[in-house]
Symmetry: C2
Subunit: 112 residues, 2 copies
């Protein structure tokens, strides 16, 4: 019963930034599990998509990292930088506009 992942193209950065705006710090695997639980298993965030996206956001200065070792396993924690905190506001507004426009285009405006 998974959703059509095709439609989520372009939304990954916004999803990551928003999760980090709510959670102080998160590591990659944790993000995949969070997305899975929020969508009740419908959206499976793939590692091949997540890690490159995290690296890109870090390279752009939107994310900062710290590394911890837990149970002999390395965890790389990501958190929003100052710039990241600003950008997440923009991204969320863009997402709101996008949803509104898409609902207009598809006649999906929820009944008042």
């Amino acid at each position: 019963m998974a959703v059509n992942n095709e439609l989520f193209k372009g939304t990954l950065q916004t999803i990551i930034l928003n999760l980090l705006s709510e959670n102080e710090k998160m590591y990659g695997y944790e993000i995949t599990q969070k997305v899975k639980s929020i969508t009740q298993g419908e959206l499976m965030l793939k590692e091949g998509a997540l890690y490159p996206a995290l690296h890109k956001l870090e390279a752009e200065g939107l994310l900062e990292t710290t590394t911890e070792v837990v149970d002999n396993r390395v965890r790389k924690y990501y958190s929003l930088s100052k710039d990241g905190e600003k950008e997440v506001v923009n991204k969320l507004q863009e997402a709101k506009d996008f949803i509104a426009q898409l609902q207009l285009l598809l006649n999906l405006k929820p009944a008042i």
Copy 2:
């Protein structure tokens, strides 16, 4: 004030099919103008995206075409095939699910 087109990736087929489910028949340029007017100029559908998408949907048997000459210009009208009529229902449901999941992931659930 255009929206971030990045987010619309993956939604083009659904938008086209839905417009054709509401309009009997439309030609390419008309679709670009319709999208522009519905979104009040925020989403500009590019020809380089639209025409390949139309050709693909036709190749998949979801669209049928007829050609007319108006004012010495050729117009290629597209309309939904039987399969297209079925597929638009699926695509719209997928879009609804997508929006619901995205709102969940971004905490954008409209207040009740």
